[in-house]
Symmetry: C2
Subunit: 329 residues, 2 copies
């Protein structure tokens, strides 16, 4: 089988997930992991894969078909993706929705210059959830779209809690409200805010002598993150935290609720949902499937920046068009 | 707005659904309906749309951008789609899964000859459910896919009951078993047959003097359709039938159940479901969205036969790529 040679740029939870995905994908071969840390300090699952300093990445131009960039959206990707797109075909998971148009423009310029193809904002939201939203709006143009997140760990909210004085560790779960999920499916349509659609549950380990009431108050009143939400705070021991709250489950649901018929008298719902033991491992699986598409589309002459909206599903699959039509259509 | 001119070939429940969809789609303009019946006997929702004899369809070659073919898969589409694909870009809803490769080959030859683009097997299954299946397999290659149909009316099974002597009218609902839906989501994976996954509920109006026990026995033992299924038969009056069983609700669920992680130790499910008051109206909505994509792809030079697997989501939408990235990604 003709193998697609990938690189991983950045080795945190997501980068490790890409390594796992490559291990279980026959037509994908992981050639190297690039890091801004000391390469000797980065331990891969497979010790035979080279770990290379990010400063040497240019030397790998001809060894990597698609670079999967596993940096953060806030500080890393806005500069990292354009830089790498001049040298490689790339896939990133940029997820700051409001800044996607600006990121797209910068990556597009760089990729055009380098004659490479870059796919940004891949994963499950943005990513698979974006596909559910566009399909819903195209098939049911008269309707409403609802995106629910959870139940799952929000790393941004967990990090925010850890910034509070007196907090030793914290995990925040975003939980969709069952009654609003039901309402979003019903023919009696309403608009809902994110605060109405979700509750937040926090598990916090306090430092010695920290005051629980003060910490709780800091959390529930935190602007942008918790204010306006129905937030529950549980104080637990480090032992309980380590036992029950070390994994990264997540998921969510996109509902398109619309109408059909001459007078829009009939009701239809389209629902797409995910339930994931490991958010970073699943996100990595999506990145790897889209890396395959990027490789193929670039081989057909496509350059510049694209998103999941520009990829035909057949390009995601290792199977031939004939096999796909015979078995999956 | 630049409008795409469509035609409808065949005016039954699906053709009527396409007329409804076009009424509510700004960039789609319905130019004519073609029928094998006497055109004077076909009553559209909008009486200003011309109804034309199918024998005159060739005269409309330059008036129709995409013809939406609304014939039956058993007898109509195997000849109708290749014939029309020589003259028009076309979309059909061919749904005999086992015969898709053969249908594809014939339509591809005809469309290549005519330099047109044909998209076959569109709707929700095959169609949107096929997208859910291919996405599931590409993102979670280690896993199982389950397709459940219903709760909804199976017209094939309803027709089969109506062939039994003594039956005046009949409606058959296919119902997924809740406990198997739950099992398909669980990490403890099993294989299930269609008979295990679904029950069948029949509402039957008898002719005078028909024997209920004989009819019931004919139904539940009918090979291919009911034998092996948990089938319930209700005998009801024509009044009750006309009041409660005249519509075409349907829906279903595709579940991909797979694993992630270095040792596939984590579990993930992807679920896509539909809940539709009107099966033909919703199917028609899907056909119209894909007609838009066919028009655009043909304008970019694409000929031959394709399926939903070959269409990038952006081509389904009337919005610009910039709008899509800003609002739906």
């Amino acid at each position: 089988m003709n193998q697609i040679r990938i690189g991983i740029f950045g080795y945190g939870n997501l980068g490790r997930g890409v390594e796992c995905a490559a291990m279980h994908t026959d037509d994908i071969s992981l050639r190297a992991v690039f890091t801004r840390r000391d390469p000797a300090a980065v331990k891969l699952i497979n010790p035979d894969i080279p770990v290379v300093s990010s400063s040497e990445v240019a030397a790998w131009k001809d060894e990597i078909d698609v670079m999967i960039i596993c940096g953060g959206s806030a500080k890393d990707l806005p500069t990292m993706t354009p830089q790498l797109a001049q040298m490689f075909c790339v896939v990133d998971s940029f997820d700051t929705h409001a800044n996607i148009p600006e990121h797209f423009a910068r990556v597009n310029d760089a990729a055009q210059q380098g004659k490479h193809l870059a796919l940004i904002s891949c994963g499950w939201d943005p990513g698979l959830f974006s596909l559910a939203r566009i399909l819903g709006e195209c098939v049911l143009p008269q309707g409403s779209t609802y995106t629910f997140w959870g139940k799952g760990v929000s790393q941004g909210h967990s990090d925010a809690i850890r910034q509070i004085p007196g907090v030793a560790d914290a995990r925040q779960y975003t939980i969709p409200r069952e009654e609003i999920l039901e309402a979003a499916r019903s023919s009696d349509r309403h608009e809902f805010t994110a605060q109405q659609m979700h509750t937040r549950e926090c598990f916090v380990v306090l430092k010695p002598d920290a005051d629980p009431d003060t910490v709780r108050n800091e959390i529930v009143t935190m602007p942008n993150y918790f204010a306006g939400y129905d937030t529950t705070v549980h104080f637990i021991s480090q032992e309980e935290f380590d036992r029950d709250h070390r994994t990264f489950p997540h998921g969510g649901t996109v509902i398109r609720n619309g109408n059909t018929g001459a007078d829009l008298e009939n009701h239809a719902t389209i629902e797409f949902s995910l339930n994931l033991d490991s958010n970073p491992e699943f996100t990595a699986r999506v990145l790897v499937a889209y890396a395959r598409a990027v490789y193929r589309m670039h081989n057909r002459g496509r350059n510049g920046c694209i998103s999941v909206f520009d990829v035909a599903p057949a390009d995601l699959s290792p199977s031939s068009p004939e096999e796909l039509r015979a078995h999956l259509l």
